[in-house]
């Protein structure tokens, strides 16, 4: 890569004068204008889910700097082919209320009826047959609604893979995945599953390359996050001044006093909850610190970002009353002054005056976005995603500075990183181990395997240890090699390579349907072509000689996809 560095300055000067000039963007671009194959493959592996056949030539034709710039502006890229593919998933465009009415509430009712049915309590029911019996206990209509609910979730998961494989806006998909993971919510926690679709579609995606502040605010007000981190039920602790009891606010006319409603020191729970059990369970509960803690530790400042336990409590107080309107019916964000602690707060040494109501939370978000620790933490995580598990400190510094200069403009921070000399440095090449998602998607892209049935691929990603939307802790999935490299997982990757290329069912995840209507399972691409287009022709002698010894073409392809070289990006 030494030759690349030589061209860096010339290129930077050229770019500053042309495409990036006048937009206030960084002028230190290290993007080579005359890149070799490995550099293009590197960019395709980092800005997206890896090369497809012919991508190297396509990028070279467009020009590498122009390609990167286009990816930074996904709205300028035509993606109608993807839109057509996604059209078959009808739940994707539905509102949460529609999803609740059509899928989730009927399924919930069916499950309740099933629990009450006599068959469910038959003592003769042995364990091995219990699942089957329970299915039998459902009427055909109930079976159908439960199936439909599963289908709605399944469509979301399939769509994620379809987008990753086929979208021309590869960087946008990468960023949606990144931010979803950064602001993680878990499909298995209660009603989160009902809100997943809107969370990704309306909360994450519109801001994936936008302003961090907008993204943070959108997540803070999203029912998915409010439920996942329990803030929806966080209420003023006993003895606190409630927003609608605050005399100052009443005088100011911010909230009309309610006659006959609770005195200061008494917390009344909202009565609008759809589930009476939940409201009973949560009665008498005061402050819930979960969101406040993760907001600072995971979303903004980082664990060493300089906040105290006292700050956690104060932030939790600021967000009391940020709740969900009728959560089980797919309701939206609502500020409930009856739950809000309206006293004064001190957050990170800044005073938030009493009587702020909903604005308390907004003020906290603004404070956090402006905090230098946030710029640094976001820069570090982005640099880790795009460059290396332990990214160079100088790059993180520059990216953090760019974050502050631009008021948290994600596009510009990403641009700083992916046009940096560190990004194109030799030691960044293949420095990242692919996550299971990246591995599966890159294998499908590289081989051009048609995706007629996406479900086996959803299952494959799950089997490799990264179930889509299924990361339980709020940390999201790890973005470091050691999290993904263990002996069981590695064997599973090799088996996936075998199964994907053999097109045979009854083995591993059974990917035959993924091969779709193709008459012959014979792969469309040869192993030499695959090595060239996906790995820039760079494989070890051992890998080359095992591929040469393969007796069939699918076997040779499997030995490429399962190779150590293909596990990296």
């Amino acid at each position: 890569m030494r030759t690349l560095r030589v061209t860096v300055l010339a290129v930077a000067a050229l770019l500053a004068a042309t495409s990036t000039a006048g937009r206030g963007e960084g002028t230190n671009s290290a993007v080579p204008t005359n890149p070799d194959d490995r550099t293009i493959v590197h960019v395709l592996n980092r800005l997206g889910f890896g090369p497809t056949l012919g991508d190297i030539e396509r990028v070279r034709r467009i020009g590498l700097p122009a390609y990167i710039d286009r990816q930074l502006h996904p709205e300028r890229i035509d993606d109608t082919a993807l839109r057509d593919r996604l059209a078959t998933f009808e739940t994707l465009s539905q509102s949460t209320q529609q999803l609740a009415e059509r899928y989730f509430l009927p399924a919930q009712m069916a499950r309740r009826e099933r629990q009450r049915s006599p068959a469910a309590q038959d003592p003769s029911m042995t364990t091995e047959s219990s699942a089957a019996r329970r299915r039998e206990a459902l009427t055909p209509a109930q079976t159908e609604v439960v199936r439909m609910e599963r289908e709605a979730l399944s469509e979301l998961m399939q769509a994620k893979l379809v987008r990753a494989v086929y979208s021309e806006r590869q960087l946008e998909e990468m960023m949606v995945d990144f931010w979803f993971n950064h602001f993680n919510v878990f499909v298995g926690k209660g009603i989160v599953r009902l809100y997943l679709n809107e969370y990704e579609r309306d909360v994450i995606r519109p801001h994936a390359l936008g302003k961090f502040h907008d993204l943070l605010r959108a997540t803070a007000e999203s029912p998915a996050m409010l439920f996942y981190l329990d803030n929806w039920q966080s209420a003023a602790p006993e003895g606190a001044t409630l927003a609608d009891d605050n005399p100052a606010r009443r005088r100011a006319g911010a909230i009309r006093p309610r006659t006959g409603f609770g005195r200061p020191g008494q917390v009344r729970r909202p009565t609008t909850l759809a589930n009476p059990t939940a409201s009973t369970q949560n009665r008498r509960r005061g402050l819930n610190e979960n969101y406040a803690r993760e907001l600072m530790e995971l979303h903004t400042l980082g664990v060493d970002g300089g906040y105290t336990q006292k700050d956690v409590q104060e932030v939790a107080r600021a967000f009391t009353g940020w709740t969900i309107n009728a959560p089980r019916q797919g309701g939206s964000f609502r500020f409930d002054p009856r739950m809000h602690d309206d006293g004064e707060k001190v957050v990170l040494k800044h005073k938030i005056k009493a009587g702020g109501g909903k604005k308390d939370g907004d003020d906290v978000l603004a404070l956090l976005v402006a905090h230098p620790s946030t710029a640094r933490f976001i820069a570090l995580k982005l640099a880790r995603r795009f460059v290396a598990d332990e990214p160079p400190a100088a790059l993180v510094d520059r990216a953090a500075r760019r974050f502050r200069e631009t008021g948290g403009d994600i596009r510009e921070v990403v641009r700083t990183i992916v046009t940096s000399s560190e990004f194109f440095a030799a030691n960044a090449y293949r420095a990242k181990v692919k996550t299971p998602l990246e591995f599966v998607v890159s294998a499908v892209r590289a081989t051009g395997t048609p995706m007629a049935n996406v479900l086996p691929l959803v299952q494959a990603v799950r089997n490799l240890g990264m179930p889509l939307y299924g990361c339980q802790p709020p940390t999201g999935y790890a973005d470091k090699a050691e999290a993904w490299v263990n002996s069981g997982a590695l064997l599973n990757r090799m088996n996936f390579a075998v199964t994907l290329t053999s097109g045979r069912s009854g083995r591993g995840p059974g990917l035959r349907p993924a091969l779709g209507e193709r008459a012959t399972p014979e792969p469309a691409i040869g192993s030499a072509e695959l090595v060239k287009s996906a790995l820039a022709g760079e494989i070890s002698e051992a890998t080359a000689s095992t591929i040469a010894k393969a007796t069939t073409s699918p076997q040779a392809l499997a030995l490429v996809l399962g190779s150590p070289e293909f596990q990296r990006r």
Binding site: P123, T127, G188, A481, V485, G488, M494, S540, L559, P564
Partner: protein
């Protein structure tokens, strides 16, 4: 245990018959492969109703609160609780465990649970598996931190195994751990070409430039060979043990096979689900009864199958929280707080129900509705990790936990 399998550094497996081996080799083997203790953890996911599992039949409030689902006082009937100590009894479908209690190999810790009051399955399971109640951002599980704290050079790839398709939170972390759905399926599966494909991949990874892929690839193929040579599938259940025909029963049967095959298993994980009985829970018969029968039959089969090996094995059962003292309007129970845990094994001071019993009167309950917690679940974890497995670095595995570090269940 005359002969021991020794896992050598290069991944080969040597069968050494101590009786015929030269003395120096016998000594070397004894030193290299000390008999390691084994912990089998069983997670009852969904919050089992501990009050119908370990029945406080001596409590009047138990019967007052559960008009349709209470288990009758011991007294001849097959529907009644099985008396343990004149106050507590086992659910009648847990009869297979009674001989273990009588043999003092089964100890129960009642009113045990988390200091955190969450009634969310998700949070409570998370807190239990990370053993950091109230802290959501803990990334590793307590069993993994144990493994990490006690790494040793004789560790095999099978040191920690979850019989599950995915690694549970308890075992996630820096130390290597395997998730195996079916031990027969572990390895490269390429039909007739399996041997060739496996050899090819092995060659590729042996030459990998990257440290981590190279090392892990070598470990993976060593594990495959080790399992193939040890062939755990050849161990059929002994002593007339009959495992329940359920995924849970299969998991326990395979754990026994791994233990018998001497592949270096130290920590095993199995799970069993469907404990969340909000409606029609049943009493001596019904949904819960069916699940408890499966649960108990599995443990009884594992103990019987392992026979004398139980001297080195301990089984620990857990569930994320208990259920309400009172039954609800649907003849079920809702999410509660305190629960019961069981510890089973040769090294257990069994035949006793441990823990301070808080009582079930309304004012004795947690938030007026649930069994209160008088023993932190981490106390039981810490005792098993310390007294059975030999952990000394307790703060590493249980960060922030102030103790106590034992209830006294271990140490026969």
């Amino acid at each position: 245990m005359i002969s021991r399998r020794v896992f050598l550094k290069d991944g080969g497996l040597a069968l050494v018959s101590l009786g015929f081996a030269p003395q120096f080799l016998a000594r070397a083997v004894a030193a290299a492969a000390p008999r390691r203790k084994v912990l089998v953890t069983i997670f009852q996911r969904g919050a089992v109703d501990g009050l119908n599992m370990i029945v406080p039949f001596g409590e009047r409030d138990y019967y007052a609160s559960r008009p349709s689902i209470a288990i009758a006082k011991p007294g001849g009937s097959a529907e009644a609780a099985i008396d343990l100590d004149g106050f507590f009894g086992l659910h009648p479908r847990m009869a297979p465990l009674k001989p273990l209690y009588d043999a003092q190999q089964l100890a129960i810790v009642h009113a045990c649970g988390s200091p955190d009051g969450t009634r969310s399955h998700f949070d409570a399971q998370d807190y239990m598996e990370t053993a950091t109640p109230g802290v959501k951002s803990t990334q590793d599980g307590w069993l993994n931190r144990y493994l990490h704290a006690r790494e040793h050079e004789h560790a095999t790839p099978f040191r920690a195994v979850a019989m599950a398709s995915q690694l549970p939170r308890s075992l996630q972390g820096l130390a290597p751990a395997l998730a195996i759905g079916q031990i027969g399926q572990f390895g490269i599966r390429a039909g007739q070409a399996t041997d060739m494909v496996q050899a090819s991949f092995e060659a590729e990874y042996a030459a990998a430039a990257s440290g981590v892929l190279n090392r892990t690839g070598r470990d993976a193929f060593n594990a495959v060979k080790m399992l193939k040579d040890a062939d755990p599938a050849r161990y059929s259940p002994e002593n007339g043990a009959e495992y329940p025909r359920s995924p849970y029963g299969d998991a326990l049967r395979q754990i026994a096979q791994l233990i018998k095959a001497d592949v270096g298993l130290e920590v095993a994980f199995a799970e069993t689900g469907q404990w969340d009985h909000h409606a029609q829970e049943g009493a001596a018969v019904g949904q819960l009864a069916t699940r408890l029968a499966d649960f108990s039959n599995g443990i009884a089969a594992l103990v019987r199958d392992l026979g004398d090996r139980m001297a080195d094995v301990m089984i620990l059962t857990m569930s994320e929280f208990g259920r309400t003292v009172a039954e609800n309007g649907n003849r079920g129970t809702d999410h509660g707080h305190g629960n019961a845990m069981m510890v089973i094994g040769g090294g257990v001071r069994g035949g006793k129900v441990y823990g301070k019993w808080p009582g079930l009167a309304r004012e004795q309950r947690y938030e007026g509705r649930d069994l209160a917690v008088t023993t932190d679940f981490r106390t039981v974890f810490a005792e098993v990790a310390g007294a059975h497995l030999g952990l000394t670095n307790t703060p590493h595995v249980f960060p922030g936990f102030k103790g106590p570090l034992a209830v006294g269940v271990v140490g026969a």
